[in-house]
Amino acid sequence: MQTAIQSMPHGAAHAEPHAEPGFLRQYVFSTDHKVVGIQYGLTALIFLLFGFFLMLTMRWQIAHPGQPVPVVGPLLEAVLGQVAKGGMMSPDLYNSFGAMHGTIMVFLAIVPLAVGAFGNYLVPLQIGAIDMAFPRLNMTSYQFYFLGGIIMFASFFIPGGAAQAGWTSYPPLANAIPTDGQTFWLLGMVFLITSSLLGSVNIIATIIQLRAPGMTWMRLPFFVWAQFVASFLLLLAFPPLEAAGVMQLMDKVAGTSFFLPTGLAVGGAVGQASGGGSPLLWQHLFWFLAHPEVYVLILPALGIIAEIIANNTRKPLWGYKTLVYAALALGFISFIVWAHHMYLTGMGTTIATFFQTTTMLISVPSVIILTCLLISLWGGSIRFNTPMLFASAFLPMFGIGGLTGLPLGFSYSDIHLHDTYYVIGHFHYVVAPGTIFALFAGIYFWFPKVTGRVMNEFWGRVHFWGSLIFMNVVFMPMFVQGLSGMLRRMSDGGATYALRPDVHELNRVILWGAVCLALAQIPFIINFFYSIARGPRVTSDNPWNATTLEWQTPTPPGHGNFDKPIQVYRGPYEYSVPGASKDFTPQNELPAKA
């Protein structure tokens, strides 16, 4: 329904092209996909930093249980009061921070950055469209996202603080905690989900409908395919969680028992519940989303990496079609593996066999994608600029993350590894040195197009090496901890369990790794803002000598994107074509003999 209204062309604004739109119209309530993309990007980067800050505080606390957190501790006490008494994080606060770190990173930082920012900005450009199919809807989806973010952020300051039941929000715990944080979380999620749904409708419709003449499906850059699949995952996997969110909200505010079984005996509200519900139902609905969601985190990242590798090896991607089919297969299978997060909730042989099989199946397209990317390097002429550094580091980092998914994917080994730091290590390798590296690569790569200026190469390299080294210092020890049995979500860092002391000692190593990782971000942040204002201007619209359409626009692209009508003649990665005059042939360049 929404769609119908929003599809109204924003005619009025364009009718008289000379009237400059006001500041608000241009930057805040803009319907231009590029502005919306930038809004998404900046908001998400701030959340990314905030999510990291939460985790730094937590890491400090668990490396030094029972001691006040320096610098941040007193601040927390001043702002949040009792929960940070004496500058120490109480378990409640630890749980809040943990739950919100997960939520913020996934729903407010990475997805908005990968799909909201990169997708919004690049998809119309890369397919040769003048804007998204539904520009007003696009603006609305950012606004929903922003509101959701505000609600999540505000929940830190309500009495009792933010949600404490993990990003997974398993009931009955989520209901049993007698504060309103969970209610805020659920409300925030409803907004975020709505935003994602609107956004993905828009991206899919844009890709289907607005491809420029000649831009056939098999000429789409891989990035566009990745966005296409990711948007489908959002579109179809999120609604069940929205339904579940509404039900949990009812449990919380209307006293129903969708997820509360008969015979609960927790003090307070839950004890009054009528019962008859099922806690596992929530888990199914949650993971029905959350597994596809992790591929939403990784697919756009793979898309970015593919673009950058093709550009910087100066040769076509190897096995483009295979890549596309693998991405589609990945998307499809990701809907039927979700219960591998639930092996130990009590699962019989039949269902466990089913989910193990699908989990192993899904690793095959991942391996295929990675193999194609690796083989693409062979025979190239590799240019090691900052984007390429991040892109190449992505490959082994994702490899570690993906491979450690295998022992988790077998229910038998999951007995020992479930809910340990091994899991934390597994998925951080895919999302942190994986997706975040891809996003960094993307930022360095497309920065000249967006701002018309270039980021500093030297500081980019400093940022790269710092991040690469310290990401590994942070996450590699987690496998050791996990194998030795150390559990996640421990507000004391596992001190009450009989772990080997050296394993325990690793908490300090991780802490210092994380601190250094934070320091390594400073050159990036300064470089980023400095370059926006003062960076050297690009001399060409296509500084990387790239082939895809976004580089065939003015820099930065104006409203409407292209100067001239676009006609596409060839595939996306025509680099080093034998016999061509230069080593790249843009997609819209007229064929030599017409």
Partner: protein, 250 residues
């Protein structure tokens, strides 16, 4: 390999199978990773711009990678079909007979574990959800004579060595996860459900029970649970000394 991975001590019959399996999977991972990494680093080195100024449009022509992919999938399938599935079937499917095992009911609560034994008569008192109260976690019918000699203990529970143990796991309030690392056994404790799990301890000793599922602000402190594996004689003595000491419910 298991040493290398730093897996903790194991004291149950199937425990080393879990460890070995983890070992096999890690072999696969390491071989793949090292292979890929060597190829990757070599490529980056060999095809850097200064050394290879002209890229090759066609790239790799051989189909080696297809064999590789099929190989990976094959090994995964092998692990799955030959090990993971049957072994899981052993853990969750092939339960020992209740008569030949020590049967213990487990109920998690914030933030401790409760254990209940049938007592000398070998019969649990009748239980029903409707009886569950704050002071009657197992929902035992107070009028059933079978329940009179039941044993109920908090946090520390005993079992005899070399005899299968069946634990019936549930929870009173929120989801916990009953995990004994040394037994390589984990099962979520979910309110409203009673899920069986079994293992066979092969060494006497005291082992820590972990709570592996976030269950509130005391989750990290829910570490007081102990499994004590006794010799059969010690176990019998222990059970007798606790018989009938179950709580009274008014």
């Amino acid at each position: 390999m298991n040493k290398l991975l730093g897996l903790p001590e194991v004291a149950s019959a199937h425990g080393h199978k879990v460890d070995n399996f983890i070992g096999y999977v890690h072999w696969l991972m390491i071989v793949l990773f090292v292979g890929w990494l060597c190829y990757f680093l070599y490529t980056l080195y060999r095809f850097r711009q200064s050394k290879s100024p002209q890229a090759n449009y066609a790239g790799v022509r051989s189909h080696f990678s297809n064999y590789l992919e099929v190989g990976v999938a094959g090994v995964e399938a092998l692990l799955l079909v030959c090990l993971a599935v049957p072994l899981w079937g052993e853990v969750v499917g092939k339960f020992p007979q209740a008569e030949e095992a020590t049967v213990v009911q487990v109920v998690g609560q914030q933030f401790a574990w409760n254990f209940r034994y049938a007592g000398p008569d070998g019969k649990f008192g009748r239980q029903d959800m409707a009886w569950v109260r704050d002071n009657n976690l197992f929902g035992v019918d107070p009028n059933d004579p079978n329940g009179k000699d039941d044993v109920q203990v908090l946090n520390e529970f005993h079992v005899p060595v070399n005899k299968p143990v069946i634990t019936q796991i549930s929870s009173k309030d929120v989801i916990h996860s009953f995990r004994i690392v040394a037994m390589r056994s984990t099962q979520d404790a979910i309110p409203g459900m009673r899920i069986p799990m079994w293992f066979e301890p092969t060494q006497t000793g005291r082992y820590q029970v972990y709570c592996a599922q976030l269950c509130g602000n005391g989750h990290a402190q829910m570490s007081g649970g102990r499994l004590v594996v006794d010799t059969p004689e010690d176990y019998a003595a222990w059970l007798a000394s606790h018989s009938g000491a179950s709580m009274s419910f008014e």
